[in-house]
């Protein structure tokens, strides 16, 4: 009896084809795929720490490896994805951190704008302190 009553649940088949159905979905996935490049670069940095700890020769070989064409290509793509992540993240800050002053909410543009400004100042400071210019 119980067997007759039991039903086989319908499991809707899930494919990744939906990504291409609308540009908005594609932009969403582009943002989400930034994690592969940010994570990949971070792992590369952890490997750099290993080489730095191993001494000057190991560090020199790491810097030499960075100059390979594959590494240059990876850096260029990773920089584009990382920047896209930053832009989307800061654009969302008014949703994550709505700020109320008295009766009114601070305009969205002011909140995300403050983040963009802080990002620009921080990036310039890091480049300056690192001796990049």
């Amino acid at each position: 009896m119980a067997e007759e009553m039991s039903r086989k649940p319908y499991v809707r088949e899930m494919t990744s084809e939906w990504i291409f159905r609308h540009p908005r979905y594609l932009r969403y996935m582009t943002r989400e795929f930034s994690c592969l490049f940010i994570g990949g670069w971070t792992l590369m940095m952890v490997w750099g720490l290993k080489q730095l700890a191993a001494g000057p020769e190991a560090w020199a070989s790491y810097l030499e490896w960075l100059k390979s064409p594959a590494s240059i290509a990876f850096h260029v793509i990773a920089l584009a994805f990382a920047t896209y992540h930053s832009v989307t993240w800061f654009n969302l800050t008014p949703k994550a951190l709505p700020l109320q002053l008295g009766e009114d909410f601070v305009p969205d543009a002011a909140i995300s704008g403050a983040h963009f400004a802080a990002w620009a100042v921080l990036s310039a400071a890091v480049l300056y302190l690192a001796g990049a210019f």
């Binding site: 996935m29 989400e32 994570g39 720490l49 730095l52 960075l66 590494s71 240059i72 930053s86 890091v126």
Partner: protein, 113 residues
């Protein structure tokens, strides 16, 4: 109210997303310059070794590594689910474990500097 582990997973994701938004692009520019043969002074062995020898800098590096990798792991987990991978518990375990392993490795390397 049921106790949920969601804040523990989501908290480092949000923190990591913020950290990577602020610092990752400029750090990539530094290694990109090195890749193009114009390594900034900071990446010279003596200077970087001395900087990474400071306990506060070590703490900051470990923090950035952990938060960056955690947010990437979490995002990749959600993305794989969106792409139709339904083995979420397995995916989550592998990705979070890899994050913790890489963070532990960076602690080990920094301890030698």
């Amino acid at each position: 109210m049921a106790i949920s582990s969601k804040p523990i997973v989501w908290g480092p994701f949000a923190a990591g997303g913020t950290v990577t938004a602020f610092v990752t692009p400029v750090l990539i520019v530094l290694t990109l310059l090195a890749a193009l043969g114009h390594a900034p002074d900071l990446l010279a062995y003596d200077r970087l070794h001395a900087l990474a020898g400071h306990w506060f800098v070590k703490l900051a590096i470990v923090g950035v590594v952990f938060l960056s990798l955690w947010s990437c792991a979490h995002r990749l987990r959600i993305t794989l689910y969106d792409l139709g991978v339904r083995a979420d518990i397995l995916v989550a375990t592998v990705l979070y474990a890899a994050t913790i392993a890489a963070t532990a490795a960076s602690v080990l390397y920094l301890a030698r500097i």
